[in-house]
């Protein structure tokens, strides 16, 4: 016994260093099967996605248009977010990435800069009109290429407990200044309640708020990247939330914890700055308060403005490893522009489509079950989606996002200056770009 145990521990200690190395081989091994020949004839494609219910949507393709064109797509369910990006990059390194991958918009530059996703402009360029300009631009990275077809978007909105707002005589804030006043007013009337929380565990929320304020975190000039994380707009957003946290006007504990669920479910927190997908989250986090919430546009930085940020959203990309790029692009276009496909996506996967026409048809003519009290939910959502500010992603969003969690987590805990945390985020992001050999403009 001691001997085997010792061996196991020994192996485990070395496994640490091996895990990274193994990643490459192991992932390559479970990558896509050979995707057939380039010639026409039956083609089979592999698709990595985390969207629930995607297999049912893909069935529609395999039985319909796919059958006609002899293109069969197989779904391989994946983990979402950053882990999938790493997995795709590792598989790509071995030349074994699947034909199609789901990619969050902010991950596209990373994938493009690793030469993992292919330019499919000639195959899907026509789909451009189906999407809002700001959405489409995220898949082109401002170039003539098109690296993905937009699938879903996450325009940001303000969610609040309608009943409790009435009870405490609070007005739905139209500006961020009013938002802060509302938070203070609530604290005065019910000291044990919070308007919302500032959560340092989701970088996407802060990125979306900065985007609304007009921040452009990554831009290019010539052959150089410019990082604007520490720009005036982001500083304004960071300072705003930092002051609220320091003052104690809002809570500072992370989202998506059992505590947070309970706070929403019991009305300890009575509002949430979120995105169009919030009904799904609220359904599981706060089941007892169904029908008591309402949605409003995000507060603005000035009365005259009408703009929102985005939090979440993803696209379908074709990899450079695919041997059937044209077929894969055809599927990607069908999946995200065809009426039937989008209907099924809404029904089976509960996504909010990027395609403009789909936002007001089919599943989106009635409000989500959780918001049955707000019949015009999706009409309003479509209106808000239109006001989405352009976004600017770069090749190392993952680094900025990671640094956000640690720097803002620490600042929140210590109730210290959020400006310093933002500066850390900027510095780390620039340092990483330079380390990789990117040219960075001052």
């Amino acid at each position: 016994m001691p001997n085997t145990k010792r061996r196991r521990l020994f192996v485990r200690s070395a496994a640490t260093s091996v895990a990274v190395a193994l990643g490459a081989t192991a992932l390559a091994a479970c990558g896509s099967e050979d995707a057939g020949e380039d010639a026409s004839g039956p083609v089979s494609l592999t698709y990595w996605t985390w969207t629930p219910g995607m297999d049912k949507v893909v069935d529609l393709w395999n039985k319909g248009p796919g059958k006609k064109d002899q293109i069969t797509v197989t779904v391989k369910k994946q983990a979402s977010g950053d882990t999938l990006v790493t997995k795709i990059l590792t598989a790509h390194k071995a030349g074994k990435a699947p034909d199609l991958v789901q990619a969050e918009y902010q991950a596209l530059p990373t994938l493009v800069s690793n030469d993992a996703v292919a330019d499919i402009a000639s195959e899907v360029g026509d789909a451009k009109d189906k999407f809002a300009e700001g959405v489409w631009q995220q898949t082109t990275l401002g170039t003539d290429a098109v690296y993905a077809v937009p699938q879903d978007i996450g325009p940001m909105m303000f969610y609040y407990r309608e009943d409790l707002f009435k009870q405490y005589d609070l007005k739905v804030p139209a500006t961020w200044e009013e938002f802060a006043e509302t938070a203070r007013a609530l604290k005065k009337k019910a000291p044990d309640k919070d308007l919302t929380t500032f959560s340092a565990n989701d970088s996407g929320l802060f990125a979306g708020l900065a985007q609304q304020a007009g921040a452009k975190w990554w831009t290019t000039s010539g052959d150089k990247w410019k990082v604007g994380i520490d720009d005036a707009a982001s500083q304004k957003v960071a300072g705003f939330w930092g002051d609220l946290v320091k003052e104690g006007a809002i809570d500072d504990q992370p989202m998506y914890t059992p505590s947070w669920n309970k706070a929403l479910n019991t009305g300890k927190q009575i509002a949430w700055v979120s995105a169009v997908w919030a009904p799904g989250t609220l359904t599981t986090a706060a089941p007892d308060t169904k029908g008591k919430w309402a949605m409003a546009p995000l507060p603005q930085w000035s009365q005259s403005e009408n703009v929102t940020g985005s939090w979440g959203g993803s696209s379908t990309a074709v990899t450079t490893d695919s041997k059937n790029k044209a077929a894969a692009a055809k599927f990607a276009a069908w999946l995200n522009t065809d009426g039937d496909a989008l209907n099924a996506l809404a029904k089976e996967s509960g996504i909010y489509p990027a395609s403009t026409s789909a936002q007001l048809s089919g599943a989106f003519t009635t409000p989500p079950d959780y918001f049955s009290n707000q019949p015009d939910f999706y009409a309003k959502a479509a209106e808000i989606a239109e006001s989405t500010a352009p976004s600017a992603w770069g090749p190392n969003v993952n680094v900025a996002y990671t640094t956000f969690k640690d720097a803002f987590g620490k600042a929140t805990k210590d109730k210290s200056d959020f400006a310093a945390a933002l500066k850390t985020m900027q510095d780390d992001t620039v340092a990483d770009l330079e380390k990789q050999g990117f040219e960075v403009a001052e």
Binding site: S17, D115, P254, P395, T402, Q436
Partner: protein, 318 residues
């Protein structure tokens, strides 16, 4: 020795065969070792000596190359304050976990070994059981218990009007994390010590009792010295487990602002590899951690062995 009744092949072939036999038997283990141990480690070391080099905007084909980095990743890792801070945090954590866990394990083992204990098999199983629970599950369970808003403990404290400490911040965080490890690990170490207690011959106790030793004296003067080798062994395991702490802080991380994504050195490796996508730096850090683990654990083993030998020789003289 008389010749066997069956026919022997010529003595030289027997000798040859006998000489090659060990290698033949070693072959499967050697192949497995090479494939799943030496080779991946070699690849990790190879990765740690490389880095990525991007040209221009880094968009499009061929913009990214893997180039030789020399020891750059290693110097970066060793000068990275976050890695050093992580090591210090783990040191603090280890200073709580190892003594408490081994102390409890020894105490429980001695108690189970005494004649007066009742329900020994049940108690033994009850103390051992947490070890069978996966670390992540244990950390999740404890995480729930540490969150004031959902924890039954806090509910009771509140009803009793007692102070409710924030277990997920500052110093208490170390206690909270250590508690998970102690809860999970004590049982295993107890079994190791208990097994070697059972192996002590009864005559020794008898002799001690005849000499007038009390049960306490038997425990302190006979039992503990005689299980010293198992204590060394459990200490060795515990050092390694502590250096590798990963799942507990990773599981608690989403619940609090106090645990950073790079709280322990292994978390930093994971973060760099899978969060930041820099497998080269991660490989270098992993190599450093593996070396440090080897150095510490074997250093300890050697020191313990040397002491043992000295004790034995002194005993001989006396």
């Amino acid at each position: 020795m008389k010749g066997a009744p069956y026919a022997h092949p010529s003595p030289t072939t027997t000798l040859k065969r006998a000489r090659s036999a060990p290698y033949f038997f070693l072959l499967p283990a050697t192949i497995l070792f090479a494939l799943f141990f030496a080779l991946p480690i070699g690849y990790a070391v190879w990765l740690s000596l490389h880095k990525v080099k991007v040209s221009g905007l880094g968009l499009g084909a061929g913009a990214r190359k893997e180039v030789w980095a020399g020891l750059e990743n290693y110097t970066d890792a060793l000068t990275d304050s976050e890695l050093v801070d992580g090591a210090l945090r783990v040191l603090g954590y280890g200073c709580i976990v190892v003594p408490v866990m081994l102390g409890l394990a020894l105490l429980f083992a001695l108690m189970l070994d005494s004649d007066k204990v009742r329900l020994a098999p049940f108690t033994r199983l009850a103390i051992f059981l947490p070890y069978a629970i996966p670390g992540v599950v244990a950390a999740l369970l404890w995480g729930f218990l540490y969150l004031p808003d959902v924890s039954p403990f806090y509910y009771v404290l509140e009803k009793l009007g007692m102070p409710q400490p924030d277990l997920l911040d500052g110093g208490p965080l170390y206690l909270a994390l250590s508690n998970i490890a102690v809860w999970g690990g004590t049982g295993f170490n107890m079994i190791v010590i208990y097994t070697s207690l059972q192996a002590i011959p009864a005559e020794v106790y008898e002799a001690a009792r005849l000499d007038g030793a009390t049960p306490l004296q038997i425990a302190l003067r006979i039992k503990i010295p005689m299980v010293a080798p198992s204590l060394v062994l459990t200490f060795f395991f515990s050092i390694i487990a502590t250096l590798q702490v990963f799942s507990e802080p990773t599981t608690l991380k989403p619940l609090t602002n106090s645990v950073s994504t790079t709280w322990s050195p292994l978390m930093k490796v994971y973060q760099d590899a899978f969060g930041k996508g820099d497998i080269y730096a991660a490989a270098a850090q992993a190599t450093i951690i593996a070396l440090a683990t080897l150095l510490l654990s074997f250093g300890f083993l050697r020191a313990a062995n040397r002491r043992n030998k000295r004790d034995v020789s002194q005993g001989g003289v006396r």
